[in-house]
Protein backbone atom coordinates (compact mmCIF):
# COMPACT_ATOMS: atom_id res chain seq x y z
CA UNK A 1 0.00 0.00 0.00
CA UNK A 2 1.28 3.44 -0.90
CA UNK A 3 1.50 6.08 1.78
CA UNK A 4 1.92 9.81 1.32
CA UNK A 5 2.61 11.75 4.52
CA UNK A 6 2.09 15.50 4.16
CA UNK A 7 2.41 18.28 6.70
CA UNK A 8 0.32 21.34 7.41
CA UNK A 9 1.19 23.70 10.26
CA UNK A 10 3.13 21.44 12.58
CA UNK A 11 5.89 21.16 15.14
CA UNK A 12 6.91 17.76 13.63
CA UNK A 13 5.95 16.14 16.93
CA UNK A 14 3.90 13.39 15.30
CA UNK A 15 6.69 12.51 12.91
CA UNK A 16 9.15 12.31 15.79
CA UNK A 17 6.73 10.30 17.90
CA UNK A 18 6.27 7.81 15.06
CA UNK A 19 10.06 7.41 14.86
CA UNK A 20 9.91 6.03 18.39
CA UNK A 21 7.89 3.03 17.32
CA UNK A 22 9.98 0.07 18.53
CA UNK A 23 9.41 -1.92 15.32
CA UNK A 24 9.26 0.92 12.81
CA UNK A 25 11.38 -0.77 10.16
CA UNK A 26 9.34 -3.99 10.28
CA UNK A 27 6.12 -2.00 10.17
CA UNK A 28 7.22 0.02 7.16
CA UNK A 29 8.20 -3.16 5.31
CA UNK A 30 4.48 -3.67 4.77
CA UNK A 31 4.05 -0.32 3.00
CA UNK A 32 5.62 1.83 0.32
CA UNK A 33 6.48 5.29 1.55
CA UNK A 34 5.87 7.49 -1.49
CA UNK A 35 6.73 10.52 0.60
CA UNK A 36 7.55 11.26 4.22
CA UNK A 37 9.12 14.50 5.47
CA UNK A 38 11.88 12.72 7.44
CA UNK A 39 12.01 9.01 6.67
CA UNK A 40 13.70 7.59 3.56
CA UNK A 41 11.07 7.54 0.82
CA UNK A 42 10.55 7.23 -2.93
CA UNK A 43 9.80 10.84 -3.82
CA UNK A 44 10.63 14.36 -2.74
CA UNK A 45 8.07 16.90 -1.58
CA UNK A 46 8.44 18.76 -4.87
CA UNK A 47 7.58 15.60 -6.77
CA UNK A 48 4.49 15.11 -4.64
CA UNK A 49 3.48 18.68 -5.34
CA UNK A 50 4.10 18.58 -9.06
CA UNK A 51 3.28 15.02 -10.09
CA UNK A 52 0.36 12.71 -9.64
CA UNK A 53 1.83 9.91 -7.51
CA UNK A 54 0.13 6.74 -6.26
CA UNK A 55 -1.59 7.15 -2.87
CA UNK A 56 -3.67 4.58 -1.00
CA UNK A 57 -3.31 6.11 2.44
CA UNK A 58 -2.88 9.84 2.89
CA UNK A 59 -1.52 10.85 6.28
CA UNK A 60 -1.80 14.49 7.28
CA UNK A 61 0.23 15.88 10.14
CA UNK A 62 -0.47 19.40 11.42
CA UNK A 63 -3.28 21.88 11.11
CA UNK A 64 -4.59 23.11 7.77
CA UNK A 65 -3.95 26.77 7.03
CA UNK A 66 -5.34 28.76 4.12
CA UNK A 67 -2.71 29.84 1.59
CA UNK A 68 0.11 27.73 3.01
CA UNK A 69 2.75 27.20 0.33
CA UNK A 70 5.48 24.57 0.18
CA UNK A 71 7.71 23.75 -2.79
CA UNK A 72 5.99 26.61 -4.61
CA UNK A 73 2.57 24.96 -4.38
CA UNK A 74 -0.55 25.45 -2.31
CA UNK A 75 -0.44 22.68 0.31
CA UNK A 76 -4.20 22.45 0.78
CA UNK A 77 -4.74 22.11 -2.96
CA UNK A 78 -2.38 19.15 -3.11
CA UNK A 79 -3.91 17.60 0.01
CA UNK A 80 -7.30 17.76 -1.70
CA UNK A 81 -5.82 16.24 -4.85
CA UNK A 82 -4.48 13.21 -2.98
CA UNK A 83 -7.53 13.02 -0.72
CA UNK A 84 -9.62 12.35 -3.81
CA UNK A 85 -7.28 9.49 -4.82
CA UNK A 86 -6.68 7.85 -1.45
CA UNK A 87 -8.79 5.08 0.03
CA UNK A 88 -8.15 6.30 3.55
CA UNK A 89 -7.07 9.59 5.10
CA UNK A 90 -5.46 9.62 8.52
CA UNK A 91 -5.28 12.82 10.58
CA UNK A 92 -2.11 12.15 12.58
CA UNK A 93 -2.26 14.10 15.84
CA UNK A 94 -4.58 16.66 17.37
CA UNK A 95 -3.75 19.55 15.04
CA UNK A 96 -4.84 17.68 11.90
CA UNK A 97 -7.81 16.24 13.78
CA UNK A 98 -9.21 19.33 15.50
CA UNK A 99 -6.83 22.24 14.95
CA UNK A 100 -5.01 21.77 18.26
CA UNK A 101 -2.42 24.21 19.51
CA UNK A 102 -1.82 25.92 16.15
CA UNK A 103 -5.50 26.78 15.78
CA UNK A 104 -5.31 28.94 18.91
CA UNK A 105 -3.53 31.75 17.15
CA UNK A 106 -6.01 32.10 14.26
CA UNK A 107 -9.13 29.93 14.60
CA UNK A 108 -10.67 31.51 11.51
CA UNK A 109 -7.94 30.32 9.16
CA UNK A 110 -6.23 27.39 10.89
CA UNK A 111 -7.98 24.15 11.81
CA UNK A 112 -8.45 20.42 11.38
CA UNK A 113 -9.36 18.45 8.27
CA UNK A 114 -13.04 18.08 9.12
CA UNK A 115 -13.26 19.46 12.66
CA UNK A 116 -12.72 22.91 14.07
CA UNK A 117 -12.53 22.02 17.75
CA UNK A 118 -15.61 19.84 18.11
CA UNK A 119 -17.53 21.57 15.29
CA UNK A 120 -17.84 19.46 12.18
CA UNK A 121 -16.53 21.57 9.30
CA UNK A 122 -13.33 21.96 7.33
CA UNK A 123 -11.70 21.80 3.92
CA UNK A 124 -11.95 18.01 3.55
CA UNK A 125 -15.64 17.61 4.33
CA UNK A 126 -16.19 16.09 0.87
CA UNK A 127 -13.92 13.21 1.94
CA UNK A 128 -15.22 12.84 5.50
CA UNK A 129 -16.09 9.17 5.00
CA UNK A 130 -12.45 8.32 4.35
CA UNK A 131 -11.07 10.13 7.39
CA UNK A 132 -9.77 8.51 10.57
CA UNK A 133 -8.74 10.93 13.30
CA UNK A 134 -5.89 9.85 15.55
CA UNK A 135 -5.59 12.80 17.94
CA UNK A 136 -2.89 13.03 20.57
CA UNK A 137 -0.22 15.61 21.18
CA UNK A 138 1.78 13.92 19.85
CA UNK A 139 0.17 10.87 18.23
CA UNK A 140 0.84 7.59 20.01
CA UNK A 141 3.11 5.64 17.60
CA UNK A 142 1.43 2.35 18.43
CA UNK A 143 -2.04 3.75 17.63
CA UNK A 144 -0.89 4.82 14.17
CA UNK A 145 0.79 1.44 13.57
CA UNK A 146 -2.36 -0.34 14.74
CA UNK A 147 -4.56 1.57 12.29
CA UNK A 148 -2.13 1.22 9.37
CA UNK A 149 -1.94 -2.53 9.85
CA UNK A 150 -5.72 -2.77 10.11
CA UNK A 151 -6.15 -0.87 6.87
CA UNK A 152 -3.62 -3.13 5.21
CA UNK A 153 -5.84 -6.07 6.16
CA UNK A 154 -8.85 -4.24 4.66
CA UNK A 155 -10.31 -3.71 8.12
CA UNK A 156 -11.52 -0.15 8.55
CA UNK A 157 -11.82 0.68 12.25
CA UNK A 158 -15.20 1.65 13.69
CA UNK A 159 -15.05 5.22 14.92
CA UNK A 160 -16.82 7.52 17.37
CA UNK A 161 -18.59 10.78 16.47
CA UNK A 162 -15.20 12.53 16.28
CA UNK A 163 -13.94 9.86 13.85
CA UNK A 164 -11.58 8.34 16.41
CA UNK A 165 -11.24 4.50 16.31
CA UNK A 166 -13.29 3.00 19.11
CA UNK A 167 -10.72 0.31 19.80
CA UNK A 168 -8.24 3.03 20.79
CA UNK A 169 -10.42 5.90 22.03
CA UNK A 170 -13.56 4.36 23.54
CA UNK A 171 -11.66 4.00 26.80
CA UNK A 172 -10.66 6.83 29.10
CA UNK A 173 -7.03 7.50 29.94
CA UNK A 174 -8.18 6.85 33.51
CA UNK A 175 -8.67 3.20 32.50
CA UNK A 176 -5.59 1.33 33.59
CA UNK A 177 -4.12 4.21 35.58
CA UNK A 178 -2.01 2.82 38.41
CA UNK A 179 -3.35 5.56 40.70
CA UNK A 180 -6.94 4.31 40.66
CA UNK A 181 -6.67 3.11 44.24
CA UNK A 182 -5.99 6.73 45.27
CA UNK A 183 -8.84 7.97 43.09
CA UNK A 184 -11.22 5.53 44.76
CA UNK A 185 -10.37 6.76 48.25
CA UNK A 186 -9.80 10.39 47.29
CA UNK A 187 -6.19 10.63 48.35
CA UNK A 188 -4.57 13.51 46.47
CA UNK A 189 -1.02 13.87 45.22
CA UNK A 190 0.40 17.10 46.57
CA UNK A 191 2.98 17.50 43.80
CA UNK A 192 3.39 16.19 40.31
CA UNK A 193 6.26 13.81 39.74
CA UNK A 194 5.39 11.66 42.75
CA UNK A 195 4.56 7.99 42.46
CA UNK A 196 1.60 7.99 44.83
CA UNK A 197 -1.67 9.89 45.10
CA UNK A 198 -4.35 10.84 42.60
CA UNK A 199 -3.63 13.73 40.25
CA UNK A 200 -7.29 14.60 39.53
CA UNK A 201 -8.06 16.83 42.50
CA UNK A 202 -5.16 19.24 42.60
CA UNK A 203 -2.72 18.52 39.78
CA UNK A 204 -5.05 19.08 36.81
CA UNK A 205 -5.35 15.48 35.59
CA UNK A 206 -7.99 15.15 32.84
CA UNK A 207 -7.75 11.35 32.52
CA UNK A 208 -11.25 10.69 33.95
CA UNK A 209 -12.81 12.49 30.99
CA UNK A 210 -10.20 12.11 28.22
CA UNK A 211 -10.56 9.41 25.57
CA UNK A 212 -7.46 7.38 24.80
CA UNK A 213 -5.70 4.19 25.73
CA UNK A 214 -2.46 5.69 27.10
CA UNK A 215 -2.67 3.50 30.17
CA UNK A 216 -3.59 0.36 28.22
CA UNK A 217 -1.04 0.71 25.41
CA UNK A 218 1.94 2.23 27.13
CA UNK A 219 4.26 4.80 25.57
CA UNK A 220 7.57 3.31 24.51
CA UNK A 221 6.12 0.12 25.94
CA UNK A 222 6.86 1.24 29.49
CA UNK A 223 5.10 4.37 30.68
CA UNK A 224 2.37 7.00 30.45
CA UNK A 225 1.93 10.51 31.78
CA UNK A 226 0.09 9.44 34.90
CA UNK A 227 2.56 6.63 35.55
CA UNK A 228 5.39 9.13 35.39
CA UNK A 229 3.51 11.40 37.80
CA UNK A 230 2.33 13.99 35.29
CA UNK A 231 -1.34 14.80 34.88
CA UNK A 232 -3.13 13.79 31.67
CA UNK A 233 -3.47 17.03 29.71
CA UNK A 234 -6.50 15.92 27.68
CA UNK A 235 -4.57 16.07 24.42
CA UNK A 236 -6.83 13.71 22.46
CA UNK A 237 -9.88 15.93 22.86
CA UNK A 238 -11.12 18.74 20.61
CA UNK A 239 -10.92 21.05 23.64
CA UNK A 240 -7.12 20.70 23.76
CA UNK A 241 -5.23 22.78 24.76
CA UNK A 242 -6.86 24.34 27.77
CA UNK A 243 -5.05 26.70 30.12
CA UNK A 244 -3.38 26.11 33.49
CA UNK A 245 -2.86 22.46 32.67
CA UNK A 246 -1.20 21.64 35.99
CA UNK A 247 -4.08 22.93 38.12
CA UNK A 248 -7.52 21.41 38.57
CA UNK A 249 -10.23 23.94 37.87
CA UNK A 250 -12.55 23.87 40.87
CA UNK A 251 -15.70 25.65 41.95
CA UNK A 252 -15.69 25.99 45.75
CA UNK A 253 -13.15 23.13 45.97
CA UNK A 254 -15.27 20.83 43.77
CA UNK A 255 -13.77 19.70 40.43
CA UNK A 256 -15.48 21.66 37.66
CA UNK A 257 -15.40 18.71 35.25
CA UNK A 258 -16.84 15.42 36.41
CA UNK A 259 -15.54 12.00 35.30
CA UNK A 260 -17.10 11.12 31.94
CA UNK A 261 -20.66 9.85 32.19
CA UNK A 262 -20.98 10.24 35.97
CA UNK A 263 -23.79 12.60 37.09
CA UNK A 264 -22.53 15.30 39.46
CA UNK A 265 -24.93 14.34 42.26
CA UNK A 266 -23.83 10.70 42.07
CA UNK A 267 -20.15 11.56 41.96
CA UNK A 268 -20.31 14.00 44.88
CA UNK A 269 -22.23 11.52 47.02
CA UNK A 270 -19.83 8.67 46.37
CA UNK A 271 -16.67 10.75 46.63
CA UNK A 272 -17.89 12.51 49.78
CA UNK A 273 -18.52 9.17 51.45
CA UNK A 274 -15.20 7.72 50.26
CA UNK A 275 -13.35 10.75 51.57
CA UNK A 276 -14.95 10.29 54.99
CA UNK A 277 -12.89 7.17 55.56
CA UNK A 278 -9.24 7.74 56.14
CA UNK A 279 -7.23 4.91 54.66
CA UNK A 280 -3.97 5.12 56.54
CA UNK A 281 -2.11 2.83 54.18
CA UNK A 282 -2.66 5.28 51.34
CA UNK A 283 -2.34 8.54 53.24
CA UNK A 284 1.27 8.00 54.23
CA UNK A 285 4.01 7.17 51.70
CA UNK A 286 4.21 3.46 50.89
CA UNK A 287 7.94 3.81 50.46
CA UNK A 288 9.37 6.20 53.07
CA UNK A 289 11.70 8.92 51.85
CA UNK A 290 15.41 8.43 52.59
CA UNK A 291 15.30 11.24 55.13
CA UNK A 292 12.49 9.46 57.04
CA UNK A 293 14.24 6.10 57.14
Amino acid sequence: MNIIWLQGVTCNGNTHSFLNHPHLATLLDHFTLIHHPVLPCAHTLRAVMEKDLPCDILIIEGAIQDNLNRADHDVLGRIIHYAAKANHIIAAGTCASFGGIHRQIDPEHIGGLVFQGDESSGPLMAYRDKIINLPGCPIHPEWLANVLLSLRENRTPKTDALLRPLSLYAYLVHNGCLRNEYFEWKVDAKHFGTKEGCLYYEQGCQAPYTHGSCNKILWNGVSSKTRAGTPCLGCTEPTFPKRNLFETLTHMSIPATMPEGIPKRTYLTVSGVAKSFHIKRLESPLIPKKSDA
Partner: protein
Amino acid sequence: MARPSNKERKTSIMKQALELFSKEGFYSTTMPQIAKKVGMSVGNFYNYFNSKETLAKELIRYISGILGEEMRTINESKANYKDKIHAVVTMYFEMATKRPEMIQYFLRVYLSNREVFEDGCEGMVCVSDFVTEIMIFFEEGVRCGELRDQDFYSAFGLFMGYLGGMAFLNGEKILPHALKSYRDSIAMNIYNALRTYP
Protein backbone atom coordinates in the same frame (compact mmCIF):
# COMPACT_ATOMS: atom_id res chain seq x y z
CA MET B 1 -58.33 -0.37 61.05
CA ALA B 2 -55.34 -1.90 59.29
CA ARG B 3 -52.32 -2.62 61.45
CA PRO B 4 -49.43 -0.20 60.79
CA SER B 5 -46.73 -1.67 58.61
CA ASN B 6 -43.24 -2.35 59.85
CA LYS B 7 -42.00 0.77 58.10
CA GLU B 8 -44.74 2.92 59.62
CA ARG B 9 -43.91 1.61 63.10
CA LYS B 10 -40.27 2.38 62.52
CA THR B 11 -41.02 5.94 61.39
CA SER B 12 -43.27 6.44 64.37
CA ILE B 13 -40.49 5.27 66.70
CA MET B 14 -38.04 7.63 65.02
CA LYS B 15 -40.33 10.63 65.41
CA GLN B 16 -40.85 9.96 69.13
CA ALA B 17 -37.18 9.24 69.67
CA LEU B 18 -36.24 12.46 67.95
CA GLU B 19 -38.29 14.46 70.40
CA LEU B 20 -36.76 12.74 73.41
CA PHE B 21 -33.18 12.87 72.16
CA SER B 22 -33.43 16.52 71.14
CA LYS B 23 -34.84 17.54 74.54
CA GLU B 24 -33.02 15.20 76.93
CA GLY B 25 -29.84 14.56 75.00
CA PHE B 26 -28.44 11.21 73.84
CA TYR B 27 -27.12 9.86 77.15
CA SER B 28 -30.10 10.85 79.32
CA THR B 29 -32.59 9.19 77.01
CA THR B 30 -33.09 5.46 77.54
CA MET B 31 -34.52 2.77 75.29
CA PRO B 32 -37.33 1.95 77.84
CA GLN B 33 -38.28 5.67 77.83
CA ILE B 34 -38.62 5.68 74.04
CA ALA B 35 -40.54 2.38 74.08
CA LYS B 36 -42.93 3.79 76.64
CA LYS B 37 -43.51 6.94 74.58
CA VAL B 38 -44.26 4.81 71.52
CA GLY B 39 -46.52 2.51 73.53
CA MET B 40 -44.50 -0.60 72.91
CA SER B 41 -42.90 -3.21 75.11
CA VAL B 42 -39.15 -2.85 75.50
CA GLY B 43 -38.68 -6.36 74.12
CA ASN B 44 -40.64 -5.59 70.99
CA PHE B 45 -38.89 -2.25 70.63
CA TYR B 46 -35.55 -4.01 70.21
CA ASN B 47 -36.98 -5.81 67.18
CA TYR B 48 -36.90 -2.47 65.40
CA PHE B 49 -33.61 -1.02 66.67
CA ASN B 50 -31.07 -3.27 68.32
CA SER B 51 -29.25 -0.44 70.10
CA LYS B 52 -29.54 3.23 70.96
CA GLU B 53 -26.52 3.92 68.72
CA THR B 54 -28.20 2.25 65.74
CA LEU B 55 -31.30 4.37 66.31
CA ALA B 56 -29.19 7.53 66.62
CA LYS B 57 -27.47 6.83 63.28
CA GLU B 58 -30.76 6.05 61.58
CA LEU B 59 -32.12 9.36 62.84
CA ILE B 60 -29.35 11.47 61.39
CA ARG B 61 -29.79 9.75 58.01
CA TYR B 62 -33.52 10.46 58.25
CA ILE B 63 -32.97 14.17 58.97
CA SER B 64 -30.29 14.47 56.29
CA GLY B 65 -32.70 12.87 53.81
CA ILE B 66 -35.47 15.37 54.57
CA LEU B 67 -33.14 18.41 54.45
CA GLY B 68 -31.46 17.05 51.32
CA GLU B 69 -34.81 16.72 49.57
CA GLU B 70 -35.66 20.34 50.43
CA MET B 71 -32.26 21.53 49.22
CA ARG B 72 -32.61 19.55 46.00
CA THR B 73 -35.91 21.31 45.23
CA ILE B 74 -34.14 24.66 45.69
CA ASN B 75 -31.17 23.52 43.57
CA GLU B 76 -33.44 22.49 40.75
CA SER B 77 -35.40 25.75 40.74
CA LYS B 78 -34.61 28.39 38.13
CA ALA B 79 -34.25 31.21 40.69
CA ASN B 80 -31.17 33.41 40.93
CA TYR B 81 -28.80 32.93 43.86
CA LYS B 82 -30.16 35.85 45.86
CA ASP B 83 -33.56 34.14 45.84
CA LYS B 84 -32.11 30.67 46.30
CA ILE B 85 -30.24 31.76 49.43
CA HIS B 86 -33.44 33.32 50.71
CA ALA B 87 -35.24 30.04 50.00
CA VAL B 88 -32.63 28.04 51.96
CA VAL B 89 -32.89 30.39 54.96
CA THR B 90 -36.69 30.23 54.82
CA MET B 91 -36.65 26.44 54.60
CA TYR B 92 -34.19 26.09 57.48
CA PHE B 93 -35.99 28.49 59.80
CA GLU B 94 -39.36 26.91 59.04
CA MET B 95 -37.86 23.55 59.87
CA ALA B 96 -36.39 24.96 63.09
CA THR B 97 -39.79 26.41 64.03
CA LYS B 98 -42.20 23.69 62.92
CA ARG B 99 -40.01 20.65 63.54
CA PRO B 100 -37.44 22.01 66.00
CA GLU B 101 -36.52 18.49 67.10
CA MET B 102 -34.82 17.87 63.74
CA ILE B 103 -32.48 20.83 63.97
CA GLN B 104 -31.98 20.40 67.71
CA TYR B 105 -31.05 16.74 67.19
CA PHE B 106 -28.50 17.77 64.63
CA LEU B 107 -26.95 20.38 66.94
CA ARG B 108 -27.33 18.71 70.34
CA VAL B 109 -26.79 15.06 69.46
CA TYR B 110 -25.05 14.64 66.11
CA LEU B 111 -22.57 17.49 66.50
CA SER B 112 -22.20 17.21 70.29
CA ASN B 113 -21.80 13.43 70.68
CA ARG B 114 -19.47 12.58 67.83
CA GLU B 115 -18.29 9.42 69.61
CA VAL B 116 -21.74 7.86 69.09
CA PHE B 117 -21.37 8.22 65.34
CA GLU B 118 -17.73 7.19 64.97
CA ASP B 119 -18.45 3.72 63.64
CA GLY B 120 -20.63 3.83 60.52
CA CYS B 121 -21.31 7.57 60.36
CA GLU B 122 -17.77 8.81 59.74
CA GLY B 123 -17.39 12.16 58.01
CA MET B 124 -20.33 12.77 55.74
CA VAL B 125 -21.43 9.13 55.43
CA CYS B 126 -24.77 9.65 57.22
CA VAL B 127 -25.37 13.23 56.11
CA SER B 128 -24.40 12.83 52.46
CA ASP B 129 -27.94 13.49 51.16
CA PHE B 130 -27.78 16.98 52.61
CA VAL B 131 -24.08 17.77 52.11
CA THR B 132 -24.17 16.63 48.46
CA GLU B 133 -26.96 19.12 47.77
CA ILE B 134 -25.03 21.89 49.53
CA MET B 135 -22.00 21.06 47.35
CA ILE B 136 -24.15 21.27 44.23
CA PHE B 137 -25.65 24.55 45.50
CA PHE B 138 -22.20 26.14 45.85
CA GLU B 139 -20.60 24.56 42.78
CA GLU B 140 -23.36 25.70 40.46
CA GLY B 141 -23.39 29.14 42.06
CA VAL B 142 -19.73 29.61 41.14
CA ARG B 143 -20.20 28.02 37.72
CA CYS B 144 -22.95 30.50 36.78
CA GLY B 145 -20.88 33.41 38.09
CA GLU B 146 -23.20 34.48 40.91
CA LEU B 147 -21.13 33.16 43.82
CA ARG B 148 -17.46 33.88 44.48
CA ASP B 149 -15.02 30.99 44.21
CA GLN B 150 -13.50 30.07 47.57
CA ASP B 151 -12.76 27.04 49.72
CA PHE B 152 -15.89 24.91 50.18
CA TYR B 153 -15.66 24.89 53.97
CA SER B 154 -15.27 28.67 54.18
CA ALA B 155 -18.62 29.04 52.46
CA PHE B 156 -20.24 26.04 54.16
CA GLY B 157 -19.21 27.23 57.63
CA LEU B 158 -20.46 30.72 56.98
CA PHE B 159 -23.82 29.51 55.70
CA MET B 160 -24.63 26.58 57.95
CA GLY B 161 -22.79 27.92 60.99
CA TYR B 162 -24.84 31.08 60.82
CA LEU B 163 -28.17 29.25 60.42
CA GLY B 164 -27.30 26.66 63.06
CA GLY B 165 -26.23 29.42 65.47
CA MET B 166 -29.52 31.25 65.05
CA ALA B 167 -31.51 28.03 65.51
CA PHE B 168 -29.49 27.33 68.66
CA LEU B 169 -30.14 30.82 70.07
CA ASN B 170 -33.80 30.38 69.24
CA GLY B 171 -33.88 27.01 71.00
CA GLU B 172 -32.27 28.60 74.08
CA LYS B 173 -34.96 31.34 73.97
CA ILE B 174 -32.30 34.02 73.79
CA LEU B 175 -33.63 35.72 70.67
CA PRO B 176 -35.93 38.67 71.50
CA HIS B 177 -37.99 38.11 68.35
CA ALA B 178 -39.37 35.16 66.44
CA LEU B 179 -36.79 33.38 64.27
CA LYS B 180 -38.81 34.19 61.17
CA SER B 181 -38.36 37.94 61.67
CA TYR B 182 -34.58 37.57 61.07
CA ARG B 183 -35.04 35.74 57.80
CA ASP B 184 -34.70 38.59 55.30
CA SER B 185 -31.72 40.30 56.95
CA ILE B 186 -29.86 37.00 57.42
CA ALA B 187 -30.53 35.93 53.83
CA MET B 188 -29.15 39.29 52.66
CA ASN B 189 -26.08 38.97 54.92
CA ILE B 190 -25.32 35.52 53.55
CA TYR B 191 -25.85 36.61 49.97
CA ASN B 192 -23.58 39.64 50.43
CA ALA B 193 -20.91 37.44 51.96
CA LEU B 194 -20.96 34.82 49.19
CA ARG B 195 -21.74 36.69 45.99
CA THR B 196 -19.20 37.77 43.44
CA TYR B 197 -17.79 41.24 43.93
CA PRO B 198 -19.39 43.87 41.72
